[in-house]
C-alpha cells in the first residue's frame, strides 16, 4: 500500500535503507539523522542481520530511536568503542553512509576543505575517517542538497575518500577492497556501477526529471537500465520510521521539510 502523505525526508530514509539490503551481516553506520534512520529501517525490515550501535559505544540488536530517549532504555548486545570501530573498519565488514561536502565523477569524496589547501575558502572537519573507511569497506553517500557545488565538475578539492580515478593508484596498492554503495540525494538515487564505474541514476524522486538532475551535477550522468521513480514509503515503513524518530527530527533535516511528491516549482526551489 502506498501512502501519498509522506515527506521527502521519509522518501530518502526509505531509499537509504535500500543501500544495506544485500549486505548480510556487517556493521551498518548511518552518519546523520536520515542515514541513521535508513540503517535502522533496513535492520527492522529487510536485513535483520545488520549490526548497529547506539551511535556511541555499544552494539544494539534493537535500533535506538533518535533524539531524547524519555523512558526508552537501550538494550545492549555488545561493545564497540572507537578503538574497535577502527579494527572493524580495517577488517572491512562495515558499510557506512556518510555526508561528504563534495563528490566527484570518480566517487572520490571531500570532507576537509573547500578551495586551496594551504589557505582554504572553507575549512570543514578534516578528513576524519574517510581515507581508511573508503579504502577498506563499502561506503554510500548522503547528499541532501543536490547541486554542482556538491557534485563537482572536476576533482574534489581535497581527496579525502578514495575513488576510481586511475592516476591516484600506484602499482601494488590493493584497490579491490573498496566499493561504493548508493548515493541518496534530494533529487534521486545513484550509484557508480555504470560502464567503467560511471555514475548513473537508478531512480528519480517523484516529480524530478533526469535533465534537472543532470543540470545540477557537475559531471555527465547515465540513466541506469530500468531507471524509474524512487519507491514511495509504505504505511508499514512509515510506522517504523515514526517509532524510530518519535520527536520528528527528520522534519528538520531538509530545508522547508518538502513534501515527498513535489511540483516542478517546488523542485526548482
Amino acid at each position: 500500500m502506498s501512502d501519498n502523505t509522506f515527506t521527502l525526508a521519509e522518501l530518502m530514509i526509505v531509499a537509504a535503507a535500500e543501500a544495506w539490503r544485500d549486505d548480510g551481516e556487517l556493521l551498518a553506520s548511518g552518519l546523520g539523522i536520515i542515514p541513521r534512520l535508513g540503517a535502522s529501517l533496513a535492520k527492522l525490515s529487510h536485513n535483520p542481520d545488520l549490526l548497529m550501535t547506539d551511535s556511541e559505544a555499544y552494539l544494539v540488536e534493537e535500533p535506538v530511536p533518535v533524539g531524547p530517549r524519555g523512558d526508552y532504555q537501550p538494550k545492549y548486545a555488545g561493545y564497540m568503542p572507537f578503538e574497535r570501530i577502527f579494527e572493524c573498519v580495517w577488517h572491512g565488514r562495515r558499510h557506512a553512509m556518510i555526508g561528504p561536502t563534495q563528490v566527484d565523477r570518480w566517487a572520490q569524496t571531500n570532507l576537509s576543505v573547500v578551495g586551496d589547501y594551504a589557505r582554504p575558502k572553507v575549512a570543514m572537519l578534516g578528513v576524519r575517517g574517510l581515507p581508511g573507511n573508503s579504502i577498506n569497506h563499502k561506503n554510500s553517500f548522503f547528499v541532501p542538497n543536490h547541486s554542482t557545488r556538491a557534485f563537482v565538475a572536476g576533482e574534489v578539492d581535497m581527496v579525502s575518500g578514495v575513488g576510481f580515478k586511475e592516476e591516484r593508484w600506484a602499482p601494488g596498492m590493493r584497490r579491490e577492497l573498496m566499493s561504493i554503495g548508493r548515493v541518496i540525494t534530494d533529487l534521486c538515487v545513484m550509484d557508480f556501477n555504470g560502464p567503467e564505474h560511471a555514475c548513473q541514476v537508478l531512480s528519480l524522486h517523484p516529480g524530478v526529471d533526469f535533465d534537472t538532475v543532470q543540470a545540477r551535477t557537475g559531471f555527465p550522468l547515465r540513466k541506469a537500465e530500468g531507471m524509474g521513480e524512487t519507491p514511495h514509503p509504505t504505511a508499514g515503513q512509515l510506522a517504523i520510521i515514526r517509532r524510530l524518530d518519535p520527536h520528528d527530527l527528520r522534519s528538520k533535516q531538509l530545508k522547508g521539510n518538502p513534501r515527498g511528491i513535489r511540483s516542478a516549482e517546488e523542485i526548482a526551489g
Partner: protein, 291 residues
C-alpha cells in the same frame, strides 16, 4: 611514591617547541584545566597532536600552536570548531592532516618503539599529497603490496583527563569509551594526568580495576582537577556544557572575542573558573549527551 602535582607544576614542564598530545575525543574528556593553564602560560610554538576538540581551537586562538597533527577538529553538536576554522582559513598554522585510524596507528608505533606501522588508510588520497613526509613501503613478502608507512607519532608530553587516580599514578577511565588515552600515554616521554578525584591509593574490586587502561609506570604526574574536562564532557560524571560552548563559538565572531573569552573564563584560577560557570553543583549536573 607521590606524583601529585599542581597545574602550574605540570605546565611548567613544557618548553617552547615541544610536541604535545591531548587525550579525549572532540568535545569529550579533554584535559581542559591543563589547557587553561597553558593558555595562562608563556609557552609557544607547540606541535599539538589531538583528536581535536575545543583545546585545539583555544590553543590556536592563543597563538600557542606552530603545527597541528589531527584527523578532525569538532565540537560535535556544533560541527565546526570556530577557531580551528579561522586559523586554517587564514593559513597561519602548519598541518599534518591524517585519517583518524592512521592517527592512532602513529601513536601505536611510537608506543611500540617501531619507526612505522603499515596501513592502507591514506593511500590514493590527498593525505599523501599534502603530507610529503609520508612514505609508502612495499611488503617484503610474496604479495608485494604497497602500503602507507605511518611514522611513529612521538610525543614529548601527553596530557590526559581521567575520572579517578591516585598519588602513585594509577588511573581509571570509567566513562563509556576510553578513546585512545592509553596510546597517548605510551607514545609520550612524559605523561601528566588530571583527574576528577585523586585518592591516596586506589583499592578496587576486580570489576572496577578493569577501568584502568594504562599502567602507572607511564604516568609522570597527577593533578587533582575537579570538573577539569569542562566545557567538554566527562562520562559518566557530567556532560558537555552547550551554554559555555555556544558562548565560546560566539566569541570567535566578535571583535576581540578571544580576549573577551579569556577575560570571562581563563584569567582566574580553577575554583573561580567553576564559579564563573555557575558553580560546582551546576557543572556536576550537566546532562550527558544523547547520541
Amino acid at each position: 611514591m607521590n606524583k601529585l602535582m599542581t597545574l602550574g607544576d605540570v605546565v611548567g614542564q613544557l618548553r617552547d617547541g615541544m610536541t604535545v598530545g591531548f587525550g579525549g575525543w572532540g568535545p569529550r574528556r579533554k584535559p581542559m584545566a591543563i589547557v587553561r593553564e597553558i593558555l595562562r602560560s608563556e609557552v609557544k610554538d607547540l606541535t599539538v597532536v589531538a583528536y581535536g576538540g575545543p583545546e585545539v581551537g583555544m590553543l590556536l586562538a592563543a597563538g600557542k600552536v606552530k603545527k597541528l597533527v589531527f584527523g578532525f577538529a569538532t565540537l560535535d553538536a556544533i560541527p565546526l570548531e570556530p577557531y580551528f576554522r579561522k586559523a586554517r582559513e587564514a593559513g597561519f598554522v602548519d598541518v599534518m592532516e591524517l585519517d583518524e585510524g592512521l592517527f592512532q596507528w602513529g601513536l601505536r608505533a611510537a608506543g611500540m618503539r617501531v619507526p612505522f606501522l603499515p596501513a592502507r588508510a591514506g593511500l590514493a588520497t590527498d593525505v599523501l599529497t599534502h603530507n610529503p613526509a609520508l612514505r609508502t613501503v612495499t611488503s617484503p613478502y610474496d604479495d608485494g603490496e604497497v602500503l602507507l608507512a605511518m611514522p611513529a607519532l612521538e610525543l614529548d608530553v601527553a596530557f590526559l583527563h581521567v575520572n579517578r587516580a591516585d598519588r602513585l599514578g594509577n588511573t581509571l577511565v570509567t566513562g563509556t569509551d576510553a578513546y585512545f588515552d592509553h596510546l597517548f600515554a605510551r607514545a609520550a616521554k612524559q605523561c601528566f594526568v588530571s583527574a576528577e578525584q585523586v585518592e591516596e591509593r586506589l583499592s578496587l574490586d576486580a570489576e572496577t580495576a578493569r577501568f584502568n587502561t594504562f599502567e602507572r609506570s607511564l604516568v609522570t604526574g597527577v593533578v587533582e582537577a575537579p570538573q577539569g574536562a569542562h566545557p567538554t564532557s566527562c562520562s559518566p560524571d557530567y556532560g558537555w556544557d552547550m551554554q559555555h560552548l555556544k558562548d565560546y563559538v560566539a566569541s570567535a565572531g566578535e571583535e576581540n572575542g578571544w580576549q573577551r573569552y579569556l577575560d570571562s573564563y581563563v584569567t582566574c584560577d580553577e575554583a573561580a573558573y567553576r564559579e564563573r560557570n555557575g558553580g560546582t553543583a551546576r557543572l556536576a549536573s550537566l546532562p550527558l549527551p544523547i547520541f
